[in-house]
Structure formats: C-alpha cells, structure tokens
C-alpha cells in the first residue's frame, strides 16, 4: 500500500509539473498512445509531456513521464526527441522501492510523403520516419546499445471522424532494451502496430469562433516480438484540443497478451499535455 500511495503522490506531482509547463499557444489532433501523421510547421516547436502509470499484478507499479520535443525543419520534414523518465515499484530484481531512472532517448526524423487536403476540414496525410533509441537509460530503465527503428503512419480526417494506422519496426541490438509494456526487457526485434479512431464530440460543426474541440478516442495498440511475445491494449481516451493547448486523458486495458517472465499489466492510465511554440 505504501508503494501505491507513493505512486499516486508521484503521479499527481508529475501531472502538476506538466501543467506548469503551460505558457503559450499550442497543439494537434493526435492520438494518445500512437503516432499521427502530423508535423510542426517550419520553425515551430511542439513540446509534449505525458505522465503514465502502469499497474501490474501483485501491486507492482511503474510511473513514466515522457517529454517529447518536435521541431519543424521544413514544410514536410521534422525531427523529434523523446525522453522518458521512470520510477519503478516492481518486485526484485526489477527497479523497486521507487527507484528512478532515465529511459533511452529516442531521436526520430519524420518525412511527410502524403498530404491530400480534400475539403475545408477533410484531409489525408501520410508520413514515414526513421531514427534510433540511444543508450541514455539509467537505473535499469535503458539499454546498452543503439536500437534503430523505422515506421510509417497514415492519418485521415473526414468531418468529425479521424483515423490513424501506424506501424513501426525496432531493431534490438543489445540485450536489455526496457519496454514498459513488458515490464522489463526483450532481446528480440519488435513491431508496434496501432489503429486509432477519434470522434469529435464537440463542436458538431466548426464555426467562426475559436472554441476548443472535444474528441473521444479509441486505439488498439499492439506490440509483438520476433520471439512471439505480444501484448494488445485497448485504449479509450478523451482529448481536449484548443488553439493554445491540448489535454489528453485515457486508460489502456490489456485485451490479449503472451509475455514471458514479467508481471501481467492490469491497466495503465495516461495524462498528457501538448503545447506549440
């Protein structure tokens, strides 16, 4: 119970810290737990802070604060840096008793290869990306090698409906990349395959006023390794998006998994904030 109280307190502090980042204008119609084919404009910074809490069987918990910076280099070219921070409340030998550490820094270059604006609101966009997870992890939350990755994502928005399809392949080059969904490590290459749907709850139709939009989101996030371990998560969420900020709130519920030597994930919660500079 002590671990849970500490986990809750830490999560609250992380969310409060994220909220304090609010300063200026902001955001994008993106899913909570998968990439979207959206890119910052040239010269524009988009910081994104997400706090996640993973609750596993036997009262084991992992807290994650993910800080992501995107920057638009050119109209269809952007770069991003993503650094997770972890606090673990696992049983031994995994990080326990609130051990804290950095995760692996992920550096990605994204190229938008498709942009078909079909109407006032309707659009279809596609992007491909490549990058690597760099061995910056500490405290058992990172890896010892550079793990390259490639991926692609397709985003369609038609009226009140938004669709996302994404796939990514990560080449594991060392013995211990840290994956929260597996509560630890895998030595196999792995793929992420994600499907997402967003429905605009409000406003029913856009007008001339600058009103925030509310979206209900539903994602299917999956990870599968070449060693046949896999996990599929159903991720409902709520997204509030305004011209100057976006707030996201959601949960992730396992629907199917086959994971070796790791505690089963019961549920994960996510709170996020995105800004634009």
């Amino acid at each position: 119970m002590t671990a849970y109280r500490r986990a809750r307190a830490t999560l609250i502090s992380l969310v409060a810290a994220a909220a304090c980042h609010v300063a200026t204008p902001a955001v994008a119609q993106e899913m909570l737990s998968m990439p979207s084919a959206t890119s910052p404009s040239p010269g524009v910074f988009i910081p994104r802070v997400q706090a996640r809490a993973y609750f596993y069987e036997e009262s084991q918990t992992l807290l994650e604060q993910d800080v992501r910076l995107e920057y638009g280099i050119a109209r269809d070219l952007s770069v991003s840096l993503d650094l997770p921070l972890y606090e673990g409340f696992f049983d031994d030998p995994r990080p326990s008793n609130g051990e804290f550490g950095l995760g692996d820094l992920e550096a990605i270059v994204e190229l938008r290869v498709l942009r078909e604006d079909l109407g006032a609101v309707d659009t279809l966009r596609g992007a491909i990306y490549a990058g690597a997870e760099l061995p910056t992890g500490t405290g058992g939350f990172g890896s010892d090698g550079v793990d390259p990755c490639v991926g692609g994502v397709l985003t369609g928005i038609f009226g009140r409906n938004g669709f996302d399809v994404a796939a990514r392949w990560t080449f594991v080059t060392d013995e211990s990349p840290f994956l929260p969904t597996f509560a630890g490590t895998t030595t196999d290459d792995y793929a992420n395959i994600d499907l997402g749907y967003a429905f605009r709850l409000y406003p029913e139709a856009y007008g001339e006023e600058r009103v925030p939009a509310w979206y209900a989101t539903l994602e299917l996030n999956s990870i599968v390794t070449t060693g046949t371990e896999y996990e599929v998560l159903l991720s409902p969420g709520l997204l509030l998006e305004a011209p100057t900020y976006a707030v996201e709130l959601g949960v992730q519920i396992p629907v199917s998994s086959d994971v070796d030597d790791a505690p089963d994930l019961r549920v994960a919660a996510v709170v996020g904030l995105r800004l634009i500079f």
């Binding site: 942009r115 109407g119 309707d122 856009y206 634009i276």
Partner: protein, 149 residues
C-alpha cells in the same frame, strides 16, 4: 511522393523513376478512393461556393501577383482541428502587410486584411498556408459592404 521522385531523379534512374511515379500515382488514387468510400465522406469540393451562400460573401478570384490594400478571403483546405488556427496565425504573421487573420473552419476561409505600403505577394500567401500544413486553393476579394474584420 515528391521526395521519392526527386531521389529517383537524383540517381539518374529515369525509367525507374517514371515507373515509380506511375505506381505511386496509382497507389495514391486507390488509397484515396478506398478511404473516401469507407468513410462515406462527403467532402466539400468547393468551399468558396458554400461559403458564399452562407455567412461570408466572396468577391472575384484575385489572381494578381501582389495584393493591394483591402480585405481578402483565402480558401483553405485541410484545416481539421483548432490547432490549425494557431498554425495559420503563426505563418501569416511572418508576412509583412498581412493583418487581422480570422479563420472560419466551417467553410475553410481565412479572412485577412492587407494594410500599409507593403503588398504581399500571392506566392508568399500560398507558401505560408502550405508551411502551416494546409492547401490554399484560391484568393478572393471580400465584398467591402459585407466584409468582416
């Protein structure tokens, strides 16, 4: 697809480039058709016409190379979320002589006012909207008596 084509040309593989372009075009058309059919999409192929019948009264299409002082309506496609407004504001703010942008997402119209001695070029506006992440279809004058600030 443009990037893929330019890479192909850079490798001097003209025949392969032509083939790739055909394949890419075919794939793009098939993808668009499938997506639109699946979504039951009723797109707005002429936002300007729908806008003119509603709250904004548009004038003639302006094709001059530079915009003289006055009010204009930019017919923009692809502005699908509130964030788009910020992107448009940020990019238009870089153009000297453009003031008071106002985004009507319902109709895909961005109204602007051209002021001062600087006369922004059409090219600058197309570039700015493109950099914001959207497609500028055309620029129209706003009828003075019905123009909105």
């Amino acid at each position: 697809m443009k990037q893929v084509l330019s890479w192909n040309r850079g490798n001097s593989s003209l025949h392969f480039a032509v083939q790739s372009r055909d394949i890419a075009t075919t794939l793009r058309i098939a993808l668009l058709s499938t997506t639109l059919a699946l979504s039951g999409c009723a797109t707005t192929p002429d936002a300007a016409n729908s806008a003119s019948s509603d709250s904004i009264s548009l004038g003639a299409v302006d094709t001059a190379s530079t915009l003289t002082p006055g009010k204009y309506a930019l017919v923009v496609f692809g502005m699908s979320c509130p964030k788009c407004i910020s992107n448009v504001d940020l990019q238009l703010a870089k153009i000297t002589g453009v003031a008071h942008p106002k985004v009507d997402m319902k109709h895909g119209i961005v109204t602007i006012e051209v002021i001062g001695p600087e006369q922004p070029s059409r090219e600058a506006l197309f570039r700015a909207i493109g950099d914001a992440g959207f497609t500028l279809r055309e620029i129209r004058t706003l009828k003075t008596s019905e123009a909105k600030p």
